[in-house]
């Protein structure tokens, strides 16, 4: 059986990944480098990074906040809240893009109101940020909540009896206790944020140099210009970031297993 499994994995997963690396450098490192440093490519990378810089912190704060509420208090509608957070994961990114357009663009519900205030959603970075926030929403909550529940209230109660207020308790007691869960969730969020394609494609209108994130750029390179090397070069950059994220996640998971051994 081991053989079957290894074969399946090797062919299904290993082959494409290996091919990615081979093809990206198939015309030599120099050609790769040229592609990666093209102005449009850099602009795409820059936009992706900026979007991530907004989406990740917001979703982290919201995720931790929601986790605190759900873990520490039983309130009416907590079940609904958890379900609502899971929606972006269960829904196709295309549909999320369509949803945002139909709610906030000029043809949507709030479009005219927003336009009169000078805010444009469709074909603009704001729309891209919103789409990215939507698809990467639940990851921090999902990884922090179980940790928060497991760590339990006692440490926080102890801090309270010793005189600590809400902020101090959070910063000095709660956050350090859940830090690996937070790190895991943030890494996942970053990976998702940088790699989002479908939703951004619908919302951004794909204007080269202006509203292209890196994934869109990769798509465009092939779709419009049949630029194989350019496309693969970009893909490799994106994949490398994801692989780094993956290594971080695996390390965190191994560490979490070890941590379980010396919990009181």
């Amino acid at each position: 059986m081991r053989l079957v499994v290894v074969l399946y994995l090797g062919l299904l997963v290993g082959l494409p990944v290996g091919y990615l690396f081979i093809k990206a450098f198939s015309h030599g490192f120099h050609a790769f480098w040229v592609e990666v440093t093209k102005p449009d490519a850099i602009a795409a990378l820059k936009l992706s990074a900026e979007v991530a810089l907004i989406a990740v912190p917001v979703n982290t704060v919201v995720g931790i906040g929601a986790a605190l509420m759900l873990a520490r208090r039983k309130f009416f509608g907590s079940r609904a809240l958890t379900l609502a957070f899971d929606i972006p994961v269960a829904v196709s990114p295309i549909i999320i893009g369509v949803a945002l357009v139909l709610a906030y663009s000029r043809i949507g519900w709030f479009g005219s109101w927003l336009a009169s205030h000078g805010i444009q959603i469709l074909f603009s970075p704001i729309g891209i940020v919103m789409a990215t926030m939507a698809v990467s929403l639940p990851y921090v909550l999902r990884s922090v909540l179980p940790v928060l529940i497991e760590v339990g209230k006692d440490q926080e109660d102890a801090a309270r009896t010793l005189g600590a207020g809400a902020f101090r308790t959070f910063w000095q007691v709660t956050l350090p206790a859940i830090r690996w869960g937070v790190l895991y969730g943030v890494t996942l969020t970053i990976a998702r944020t940088l790699g989002e394609f479908g939703a951004v494609l619908v919302v951004s209108g794909n204007i080269t140099g202006k509203t292209q994130t890196l994934p869109i750029y990769i798509f465009d390179a092939w779709d419009q210009n049949f630029d194989t090397i350019g496309s693969f070069a970009g893909a490799l950059v994106l994949a490398s970031i994801s692989i780094v994220a993956l290594i971080i996640l695996s390390t965190l998971r191994a560490r979490e297993r070890k941590l379980h051994v010396d919990l009181a």
């Binding site: 059986m1 081991r2 079957v4 499994v5 399946y8 994995l9 299904l12 997963v13 290993g14 494409p16 990944v17 091919y19 990615l20 919201v62 929601a66 605190l68 509420m69 208090r73 309130f75 809240l81 609502a84 929606i87 269960a90 829904v91 196709s92 990114p93 295309i94 549909i95 893009g97 369509v98 949803a99 357009v101 139909l102 709610a103 043809i107 949507g108 519900w109 939507a134 929403l137 005189g163 207020g165 809400a166 990976a191 940088l194 394609f197 479908g198 619908v202 994934p215 990769i218 798509f219 194989t228 496309s231 693969f232 893909a235 994106l238 994949a239 994801s242 692989i243 290594i247 695996s250």
Partner: protein, 306 residues
Amino acid sequence: MDTPAKRPSSELGAPPARKGWRRFSSRARSSLGLYGGTSLVVGYLSIIVLIPIAAVAAHGFSFSIHTQGWGAAFWRWHLSTGFATFWNDITQPAAISAIRLSLWLSLSVAAINAVMGVAIAWVLVRDKFPGKWFLEAFIDLPFALPTIVVGVVLLFLYGTASPLKIDLFETWMGLMLALLFVTLPFSVRAVQPVLESLDGESEAAAKSLGAGGIRTFVWVVLPSLWPAVLGGFGLAFARAIGEFGSISLIAGGLGRTTTASNYIYNLTQGFLWTNAAAVSTALLVLSLLILIATNVFARRIQRRLA
């Protein structure tokens, strides 16, 4: 300590002062905090997720702002015309074919990976061999890789210019390979922790009673795995049915290989937003139903086990 330390009215002992707003009872303040926090989170959720999803459902039935008034005429128009438009949109042959394709592709892929997921998890948990950690990392790779990267790579690897001398461009096989790739982690990770928690005692008991390897597996191990397997199936299915980036390239422009997501995307490129909304709503409802069914099934089995 020699002297018994009677509690001093101490410099040390004074608790933090109760100034300003802290005078209010702790119960009142924490409730306020909870309400404030909840409103912020709910507000954010609404703007980013809830309102947009509602907009999709509504627009599918032509609930755009650009209609007449809010009175009875409004409702009559929407109930008749709106519903008619909706029905028309989703019963287009192209739409039906796309939805059907997505459905059977997702169900088959989820099923295949449910089986392979158990096998892979089994090897990961029970087998020991050098380099196993490498295999572990491999499992998560499809989850971490951006969909467009997968799409581009698979297009070139299995498509017309393939170095493997195969051409899966615009074929169902190509779509399947892509979907198997991206849904693999869900199937494996759903089952793995359950397998890990099985301590082997029941299996040892079965063996001591004379059961062989396969029989032990089917009668002892599998029953406790069912809920997890179903859970993994549900997750894989949900991912597959919405998948876009990794399959849109290898699908090409052929109607036969246009999945639901692809079809909706094409509609948006043609600015047919109401149409797109209608099909999206249909897809959402379908996936929701299947997910609920999987969930109910899993829970029923779980109840029988407990």
